[in-house]
């Protein structure tokens, strides 16, 4: 007998009839899980959608509540209660003023140093020195203080 013929003989193997009967009875005595129906599936799907939607809505509500931005109007930009916009604005303006004042101070000191330098160099000719110093000082003043302190303050206050 060749290998394939022997393999075909295996098809004649049968389980023990006593085992078959016992096993059959035991299996069929068991109640399977109730089958799923389309209606039940649809209800379940709908319920899941509602659950998910409610979860998302609640999460969004709490996020808005925590950030303090809950508002009836959709067109009002989001504002955070922890930050006062007026104080922020005033603070920003104060910084600008300090910068401008620093520039003005720098311009004044530049005028003084220019006068002193010019005066020092032309000590031998007092007339020329004084006129040169005055013109230099004038030019520097004109160049450095194109915006006066009053103008700067006025501009900032606007």
């Amino acid at each position: 007998m060749n290998l394939f013929q022997i393999l075909k003989q295996f098809k004649n193997i049968e389980p023990d009839p006593a085992f078959k009967e016992t096993s059959r009875r035991a299996i069929l005595a068991y109640r399977p899980v109730a089958p799923t129906t389309h209606l039940w599936s649809a209800q379940r799907t709908l319920w899941r959608i509602i659950e998910t939607g409610a979860a998302v809505a609640l999460t969004g509500f709490f996020v808005l509540l925590i950030t303090g931005a809950f508002s009836g109007s959709r067109f009002v930009p989001v504002q955070y209660s922890a930050v006062d916009p007026q104080s922020l604005h005033a603070e920003a303006q104060a910084i600008d003023i300090q910068i401008q004042l620093a520039n003005v101070t720098y311009a004044e000191s530049a005028v003084e140093s220019t006068v002193q330098t010019a005066g020092g160099k032309l000590l031998g000719n007092p007339k020329k020195a004084s006129s040169t110093a005055l013109s230099a000082a004038r030019g520097t003043t004109e160049a450095t203080s194109t915006i006066t302190i009053d103008q700067a303050l006025q501009g900032l206050s606007q």
């Binding site: 007998m1 290998l3 394939f4 022997i6 393999l7 075909k8 003989q9 295996f10 098809k11 004649n12 193997i13 049968e14 389980p15 023990d16 085992f19 078959k20 096993s23 059959r24 035991a26 299996i27 069929l28 068991y30 109640r31 399977p32 899980v33 109730a34 089958p35 799923t36």
Partner: protein, 181 residues
């Protein structure tokens, strides 16, 4: 395929045990053979076969017909059950130490002695093959399953199954030659 199988399956899916009974009667012997050739021991084959049909009946509600025979689904459950069986019983007594009479299934009693001996040699050789080779030999050469169905059970392409069955037979022949020497 069983007569009126689709109707029986549909009723069984609805939980009717009267419909699952005929399916059990029809498919139980082939599942038993599949398991028996793989595990070798009659008691183990009976236990696993019982577990296969119990699992099938417990999960029949989730069965969906996708163009493949009902037997494919049962074979897949059987394969998983055999894997679980070996996983649970790794420290088994070696086959050589077992009494050969222990392996003989009651239904093989009607074979003559020489046929029985030949079958036992082949069965021992099959048991020594890789699980995939065992499966393909049982499905294609013992149960005569079409290539397409065997491919579905083994979760491989038809080409892969062809190649695998060729290699499995070669390997089986080589092992039988070794037994002779």
């Amino acid at each position: 395929m069983l007569d009126g199988e689709q109707k029986l399956i549909k009723d069984a899916v609805q939980g009717k045990s009267s419909a699952f009974g005929p399916l059990y009667d029809h498919y139980q012997p082939m599942i038993y053979r599949f398991v028996f050739v793989k595990v070798g021991r009659r008691e183990d084959a009976e236990d696993i076969t019982h577990q296969v049909f119990l699992a099938a009946w417990q999960n029949i509600g989730s069965y969906k017909h996708r163009g493949h025979p009902f037997s494919s689904w049962l074979y897949q459950i059987a394969r998983n059950q055999v894997v679980d069986h070996y996983r649970a019983k790794k420290s088994e007594v070696s086959l050589e130490k077992m009494d050969p009479e222990y392996f003989v299934a009651p239904a093989t009693a009607h074979f003559d002695l020489s046929t029985k001996l030949e079958m036992e040699k082949v069965r021992v050789a099959i048991a020594g093959l890789k699980p995939d080779y065992q499966d393909v030999i049982v499905l294609r050469f013992i149960e005569d399953l079409p290539l397409k169905e065997a491919a579905h059970v083994l979760e491989k392409s038809e080409g892969a199954v062809k190649l695998m069955q060729h290699r499995a037979i070669k390997e089986l022949q080589r092992m039988l030659e070794q037994q002779k020497n």
